[in-house]
Amino acid sequence: MPFQRTTARDAARRHKFLTETFTAYLYLLPATAVLVTFHFAPVLYAFYVSLLEWNYISPNPAFVGFANYAALLQDSDFITSLVNTVYYVVGTVPTSMAAALLVAVLLNQKIRGLAWYRTVYFLPVITAANAVAIIWFWIYHPDYSGLLNGLLDRLGLPIQSWLLDPRWAMPCIILMSIWKGLGYNVVIFLAGLQNISSEYYEAAQIDGAKGLSMFRHITWPLLSPTTFFVLIISVIGSFQVFSQVYVMTRGGPLKSTLVVVYYLYKIGFEDFKMGYASAMAYALFIIIFTLTLLQRKYIGSRVHYQ
């Protein structure tokens, strides 16, 4: 009876599959419960909240449709915060990436003390942003006793009032953020460089290629997947800047460092306008998402994969 035996085996197999599915779901349950409750559901709920006018103190939220989104476009503070955030991203990302690439290339020259350098450059990455922001707050001290002003003074340059000056406050935050994030990019770039097969360099050397042209024609194109990855991660991360601003300037002076997430925090958790804050969170998400897609489309297509 070959036919019956097959069905019996099929049934057994199906039974095994179903038991395994049941077991697998049990193993997945704890992580899934947390992800659904605190990551998936909130995204949907945030959208619902963004359609409400909900001052947290009042128990009865009013449905206002897309009024919060419309208000966002009219809110000059929100526009300012967007412009400032873009300023921050543009100031931080390219400089940090260029500096990190330089450091990574230097570290990749088979030098002594690689591990030591790598650890030192990485140190700011693992320290808490708010704690190092406190240090930098004092480095930017507005009179001669500040570390930065002392340095400028010794070089014969005029001192500045840094965080108290609307023109300088954002560059100060940018500089600190580059310092803080550099090591992370260095480590990623270094890993990318070490992944490039030495055969390419040996072949180029036979053809008579030298340092800089070797970098341009071999390192740069072959490193492009890494560069692209660092770019995407950096842009996403930079759009979410918060701790530095919270500790050093609170968005001031004259709103010159008011960034989106700080504004969101202020609206949502100081003014308790939950609906409006949620609309802002959605706007931020859409901006980050769109930017990521655009980068994939326009820059991603120029990436070489080995």
Partner: protein, 286 residues
């Protein structure tokens, strides 16, 4: 290449030495910039107040004022802050590693309905920025009456898609035959995870554990929102409160900052190789 190694010309050696010196000079300059803020922090934390604002700056205090640390510690409930951070970070790490290992084990070794779909959905959460979930999670925790409780600081971070992903990758490299052999020896499914998979995957557990611990220890925005009394504040939020109250006393502030930073820095020195390799492999952001 070959002939230059066997009989190097004197000029080539000089050029190589110069090149190497140049590289080290650049890297050292960068390293000094990286370390200077920390040096200033430690130096200031050990100064007498009168020496903080000297021009030019005095890097080595004429007298080491260790009492700044004791004073800072007594000015605010730092014992409580430290305990809270240590407890929250430890609980989050243990819980998250457990939950992630269970999920990764299912993804890596079991054949079940909807495996690919569920895994893709999990990965999808990495697209969601944390700010998206701030308001709804706050509302939820408020309704659960979890605000200003340990639950609020721990439970939302008990699942990490990063960890699940990393562990799954690692689990997949362990040969299936090992499982069959273990099963013949009477090993249960869970027993195999606990007694075979976990010990074999130590490096990945260390990497994930470190990430979680450091991320939890350094977290700022979330604890800032869900705590509102000194009883529940973590070290980072406590430090920021301390700055608001004692911002004009840099010696105490730097002593407090040093204390907040040091546990992670010291821990990092012990495991830095594994940690950096983990990042290089995966591009994780802490």
């Amino acid at each position: 290449m070959n002939h230059s190694r066997s009989r190097p010309r004197p000029g080539a050696i000089t050029a190589r030495l110069l090149r190497s010196a140049g590289i080290h000079a650049l890297l050292l300059a960068g390293a000094i910039v990286m370390l200077a803020p920390f040096a200033w922090m430690i130096s200031t934390s050990l100064k007498d107040y009168s020496e903080v604002f000297t021009v030019p700056i005095k890097w080595i205090p004429s007298r080491l004022v260790w009492s700044n640390y004791a004073d800072a510690w007594n000015e605010a409930p730092f014992t409580r802050y430290f305990f809270n951070s240590a407890f929250v970070a430890t609980a989050t790490t243990i819980g998250q590693l457990t939950f992630s290992a269970l999920a990764a084990y299912a993804f890596a070794t079991m054949n079940f309905l909807g495996r690919e779909v569920i895994f893709t959905l999990f990965l999808g959460t990495m697209m969601i920025p944390d700010q998206m979930t701030l308001v709804p999670n706050y509302v939820l925790l408020f309704k659960l009456d979890w605000i200003d409780k340990y639950y609020a600081l721990i439970v939302p971070w008990l699942a990490s898609v990063f960890s699940i992903f990393l562990m799954r990758q690692f689990f997949q490299t362990i040969p299936r035959e090992l499982y069959d052999a273990a099963q013949i020896d009477g090993c249960t499914r869970f027993g195999y995870l606990w007694r075979v998979m976990v010990p074999l995957s130590r490096p990945v557990f260390i990497t994930c554990g470190l990430f979680t611990f450091i991320g939890s220890w350094n977290a700022f925005l979330w604890p800032l929102i869900v705590t509102n009394t000194d009883r529940m504040r973590t070290i980072q939020v406590g430090l920021s409160t301390f700055m608001q109250e004692h911002g004009t006393v840099p010696t105490l502030l730097m002593a407090a900052s040093t204390m907040a930073i040091m546990p992670v820095v010291i821990g990092f020195f012990f495991v830095q190789r594994q940690f950096i390799q983990g990042i290089a492999r995966t591009g994780l952001k802490s």
